[in-house]
């Protein structure tokens, strides 16, 4: 089997795309890896290490760095960053991709296309009752990640003060039939509670509340973590109904408490936004007529050499994206080798 020909296009240089490309390269293939941003790593590269007192919390964010390291020493992958896809058209038994690269337009036929375009964080602006963008000091979990990653601290956007009272609201944009998101985003309980633990550990006087419906079991250490969390974080099994601004740019919410509706207020409120299909999905769906699954994410179509991997295929943690991508290597290689 001639593996020197460049037969497979991997779209998206996030953890899934990197892992698939590396796996295929190890199998001897010469995949193209195309990324629209100017750097590889995707969302996960912007996530913070959530270790607490030297204990890894199994978030997997550091695994991206490993993949990048491996990628740097892998000659078989042809990597294009800052590159866009003009379009993909059927050609013979394969796909002809027109790629907009920094050094001009490139047309290249591929037998297989691996879609690793990832997800897009749910935009809370589309549910205006959440007050995001309208009420000061309401931020998303992704914004909190970025802040911790860059500064190592949590500060209120409005005045840069250290928040004493913080709240997380879970399932924002997830488990939501109204939005056509009939899925749990899988990662939000993990990232919110891991960050909460880290914040609590660095600033013990911070008062943390978590509004939720169901806490998902994340990571193998959950049985050790969960029972104790109650002491560090106040868990309220309620989703607030109203979000508004109060004196001193505090965030007010109305919450059902069982016997009354209480107004609670916080210095900072974090919306644990979930994963939504990437806006790029529609184009790929059209070009490759890949099927869309019940959850609204693309599905693989192995017979025509189209594979959807990682969070492009559905909500997935970093660790699960890697598992999915490792497994995909076999399917893609199998296709290229002419096996099913």
């Amino acid at each position: 089997m001639d593996r020197t020909s460049e037969d497979v296009l991997v779209i998206g240089g996030g953890i899934a795309g990197l892992t698939v490309a590396l796996g295929l390269a190890k199998e001897g293939w010469r995949p193209w890896l195309i990324e629209k941003e100017d750097r590889l790593g995707g969302h996960a590269a912007a996530y913070v290490c959530k270790a607490v007192e030297g204990e890894c919390q199994r978030c997997g964010a550091c695994l991206v760095d490993l993949a990048l390291k491996e990628h740097a020493s892998e000659a078989r992958i042809k990597t294009l960053v800052n590159a866009a896809i003009e379009r993909i058209t059927p050609s013979g038994s394969g796909h002809l991709a027109a790629l907009e690269t920094p050094d001009g337009l490139v047309e290249q036929p591929f037998r297989a296309v691996v879609l690793c375009h990832g997800f897009t964080p749910f935009d809370p602006r589309s549910r205006t009752n959440l007050g995001y963008g309208r009420v000061p000091n309401i931020m998303t979990g992704h914004e909190l990640e970025a802040m911790l990653k860059v500064t190592g601290r949590v500060l209120r956007p409005s005045d840069g003060a250290v928040p004493r009272q913080m709240a997380f609201v879970q399932c924002v944009g997830s488990r939501n039939a109204r939005l056509g998101h009939p899925y749990c985003s899988q990662v939000c309980c993990g990232y919110a509670l891991r960050m909460a633990r880290q914040i609590k550990n660095r600033l013990p006087e911070t008062d943390l509340t978590c509004f939720y419906m169901d806490i998902q079991t994340y990571g193998k250490d959950f049985p050790d973590v969960w029972p104790g969390l109650g002491g560090e974080i106040r868990f309220v099994r309620e989703i607030p109904g109203d979000y508004f601004s109060l004196e001193g740019d505090r965030v007010g919410v109305l919450v059902e408490t069982g016997d009354a509706v209480e107004e609670l207020s916080f210095d900072l409120l974090v919306l644990s936004v979930g994963m939504a299909p990437s806006p790029d999905q529609d184009r790929f769906c059209e070009w490759l007529n890949a099927p869309v699954g019940a959850e609204g994410f693309l599905r693989s179509d192995p017979d025509s050499g189209v594979f959807v991997v990682g969070s492009a295929a559905g909500p997935m943690s970093i660790v699960d994206s890697i598992a999915h991508a490792r497994a995909a290597v076999r399917d893609v290689a199998g296709f290229l080798e002419g096996r099913k």
Binding site: N129, C171, R175, N176, A177, R178, L179, M213, R237, E238, I239, P240, G241, D242, V253, L254, V255, E256, D259, A260, V261
Partner: protein
Amino acid sequence: MSQINPDEVFDDFAEMVAAEPGGEAIRSCYACGTCSAGCPVRRVNSAYNPRKIIRMILLGLKDRVLASDFIWLCSSCYTCQERCPQGVKITDLMTAVRNIAVREGFSPSGVAMQADLIRRHGRLYPLDDFDHKKREKAGLPPLPSEIEEVARLLETREK
């Protein structure tokens, strides 16, 4: 302390509500509390609690719900319905439950009276001579005292 007993449970009550226009999505409820937290009525009168009402229906507490006063407390402001993450049309659901209650013979006098007025006059407030004079004095155009066509429409329908 009150307790819900097996003999209060009608397995098909939720189905009955789901079959009524507006009640379709009731089973999608996650009991997340968004509705109750935002409810302006619930804040003033804790007897009204949309999440509890939905739970009672899902549990099948037919008599308790239909004979209650609380189903008549919804101000139909749609705050909950606009926000429900599961697309439960809570306001419309309350209308559905009220309709069932009326059919089963429970309805507050005021509500029945309103319906009766409209059936008879086609208006909630039939205009009497006093009203006509007032309107004339205010330079407002004359209007018919009642709209008998409405009565006819409802009769032909009920036939």
